[in-house]
Amino acid sequence: MITTTHYLVLSLILFTLGVVGLMVRRNFITVLMCIELMLNAANLNFIAFSRQLGDLTGQVFAVFVITIAAAEAAIGLGIIVALVRLKQTTDLDRVNVMEG
């Protein structure tokens, strides 16, 4: 029997991986992907609880999250394109103009 806890643990692992990836990767594109991973983990939670509670609200909010994720991806990738035009790199280490 697959319980809600199973899904929560899976989502927890996925979220943590996303967080760690966000902090360690140098490539901006991959950092964005890690954010998508975290949003997916959130969606898993929404759906798992929606099932647990028998309430559609979770699914509706997952739709919102996906929409926001799409918006975020569009903006993030737009920033990458602008960044590459400016600095010829997606390496976050080379974008540190205020390195102290």
Binding site: I2, T3, T4, T5, H6, V9, L10, L12, I13, T16, L17, V19, V20, G21, M23, V24, R25, R26, N27, I29, T30, L32, M33, C34, L37, N40, N43, L44, I47, R51, L53, G54, D55, L56, T57, Q59, V60, A62, V63, F64, I66, T67, A69, A70, A71, E72, A73, A74, I75, L77, I79, I80, V84, R85, Q88, T89, T90, D91, D93, R94
Partner: protein
């Protein structure tokens, strides 16, 4: 054979979960952004499969269409657009942060796990409840649609405006700088 039938749901869950986690690990581990993106795709599809397992078919379809379709294509396009030379070579990690980040990740996982452990008790609700709107049994998509356009119409409209703004923002960010090559 009958074992498979009895435990089919478990089997699917574990296969999909493995797919999701392997995909996520791949995103972090692969050096090439293209590989990372494809690995991310595997993770997305795994999540979509889990949605089906949780009787959220509409969400599964949206997940495949928006994530595996739209967002992924966007990622791949941008990777191609910015060309390989823009991708950092060695090393691929912010080395000095790795120990701190991994440690922090473990602490976070433990904390969230501890919080989550006792939070859910009892079996999931009747799946049919998810598809009941005002006492009428509907399909999942129809039920989500009712909920979205009736109870959450205002947030829905707000989110659509956010999306519109993001679209315009992406266009503004993406166009050539005026002055250099004329107004794009």
């Amino acid at each position: 054979m009958s074992w498979f039938l009895v435990h089919f749901a478990q089997l699917v869950f574990y296969v999909m979960a493995a797919c999701v986690i392997a995909g996520a690990v791949g995103v972090i581990a692969f050096k090439s952004p293209v590989h990372a993106a494809l690995s991310l795709l595997a993770s997305f599809l795994g999540v979509a499969g889990l949605f089906v397992l949780m009787e959220a078919e509409f969400l599964a379809a949206v997940q495949v269409l928006v994530y595996a379709g739209g967002v992924m294509v966007l990622f791949l396009f941008v990777i191609m657009l910015v060309k390989a030379r823009a991708i950092p070579r060695e090393p691929q990690y912010v080395n000095r942060l790795v120990p701190a980040a991994v440690g922090l990740g473990v602490v976070l996982a433990l904390l969230l796990g501890a919080g989550m452990w006792a939070s859910v008790t009892g079996a999931p609700a009747d799946a049919a409840a998810l598809q009941r709107v005002a006492g009428v049994q509907l399909g999942n998509t129809e039920a989500v649609g009712w909920s979205l356009y009736r109870d959450y119409l205002l947030p829905f409209e707000v989110v659509s405006i956010v999306l519109l703004v993001a679209m315009i923002g992406a266009i503004v960010l993406g166009r050539k700088e005026p002055g250099k090559e004329g107004r794009a």
